[in-house]
C-alpha cells in the first residue's frame, strides 16, 4: 500500500474513532500467535460493536475464563451458536476445545489494523483455509 493511501486510510479511521467515541468503536492490542499470519502479537486493531458473521475476526470472552477476551475468526454461525477458530490452527485453543458460543457473546468485530504502520489496512487474511474447517462435532444437549 502506498504511503499516500495509508495516510488517507489512517485519517479516515481516526475520524471514525473520534465519531464513535469508543462506544461503538474501540482500539485493542493483540497478544498471542493463534491468529497468525493474519494477526501478529502487538498488532493494534480498530474494532466496532457488531455481531460476528462468518469469516469475521471477532472478540469474545473465553467461556472457560471470562477475564480473558479472545480474538478469533468466525467459521460458522448456526442454531448451535457461533464457532470460533484461530487462523493458526495448530497453535490455537478455540471451538475445538470449548465448543460454540452463544451469539450474544460476540459483540465486537475487528475491521482494520492501524499499527504497525507497515501493515495498516483492513483485516483480511488466509481465512479461506480456515473456513474449510467443519463446525465442531456436536453432542446432544
Amino acid at each position: 500500500m502506498s504511503t499516500g493511501r495509508s495516510a488517507l486510510l489512517f485519517l479516515v479511521l481516526v475520524s471514525l474513532a473520534l465519531w464513535g467515541a469508543r462506544r461503538r468503536i474501540d482500539v485493542v492490542e493483540v497478544r498471542g500467535q493463534s491468529m497468525a499470519p493474519t494477526l501478529q502479537p502487538g498488532d493494534r486493531l480498530i474494532v466496532v460493536r457488531a455481531p460476528g458473521r462468518v469469516a469475521d475476526v471477532v472478540l469474545a470472552f473465553d467461556p472457560r475464563d471470562p477475564a480473558r477476551e479472545l480474538i478469533k475468526r468466525v467459521t460458522a454461525v448456526d442454531d448451535w451458536g457461533v464457532t470460533l477458530r484461530g487462523d493458526n490452527s495448530s497453535a490455537s485453543t478455540d471451538a475445538r476445545m470449548f465448543g460454540e458460543l452463544p451469539p450474544s457473546s460476540v459483540q465486537w468485530r475487528a475491521v482494520a489494523r492501524y499499527w504497525p504502520p507497515g501493515r495498516i489496512g483492513p483485516i483480511v487474511g488466509d481465512w479461506g483455509v480456515s473456513l474449510t474447517h467443519q463446525p465442531v462435532e456436536r453432542t446432544a444437549r
Partner: protein
C-alpha cells in the same frame, strides 16, 4: 480535547490464545508409517500363512491411514501461504502424496509403497528448505 495519542492507545489486550502451542512437525512421522507399509507388503508376499497375511493387510491399511493423517497435519498446519509462494506445486504435491497413500492402503503393490516414500521425501525437502528442521523440532531432528 481528546488527543490523538489517547485515541490510538488500545483500551485492552485481546488474546489470540493457545493453551498449548506445540508446533512440532516432521515428515519423518509419515515416512516411518510408509516404511511400515512397504515392509508389511514384503512380509505378506513372503508368507504362506493365510492368517498372517490377513493380519498384514489389516495392519498395512491402518499404517497407510496414519500416513495420510501425518501428511494432512503437515499440509494444513505446518505449511503457510508464504511457503506456497516458494513452492507453487505444494498443494499438488500433497494431493498426489495423500492419493498415493490411499493407493497403498488399497493395494499390495510394493512399487506403490516405494513411490509413496519418494513422494514423502519430496515433502521432506520442502519442509527442510522452509526451515522446518530448525523451527519445528526440538534442537533439530535427532541424528
Amino acid at each position: 480535547m481528546i488527543s490523538l495519542r489517547s485515541i490510538l492507545r488500545p483500551s485492552r489486550i485481546v488474546d489470540a490464545h493457545c493453551d498449548i502451542p506445540c508446533g512440532i512437525y516432521d515428515p519423518e512421522q509419515a515416512r516411518i508409517e510408509a516404511e511400515s507399509c512397504l515392509r508389511i507388503i514384503e512380509k505378506h508376499d513372503a508368507s504362506d500363512d493365510e492368517h498372517f497375511r490377513a493380519r498384514c493387510i489389516a495392519i498395512k491399511e491402518e499404517r497407510a491411514e496414519l500416513v495420510k493423517h501425518h501428511l494432512d497435519v503437515l499440509w494444513h498446519d505446518y505449511f503457510k501461504p508464504e511457503h506456497l509462494e516458494k513452492y507453487p506445486d505444494l498443494h499438488d504435491t500433497f494431493w498426489k502424496a495423500t492419493k498415493q497413500a490411499s493407493k497403498v492402503k488399497q493395494s499390495l503393490d510394493a512399487g506403490a509403497a516405494k513411490e509413496l516414500l519418494s513422494m514423502i521425501d519430496t515433502v521432506d525437502e520442502m519442509w527442510k528448505a522452509t526451515g522446518g528442521l530448525e523451527k519445528t523440532r526440538v534442537s533439530g531432528r535427532p541424528s
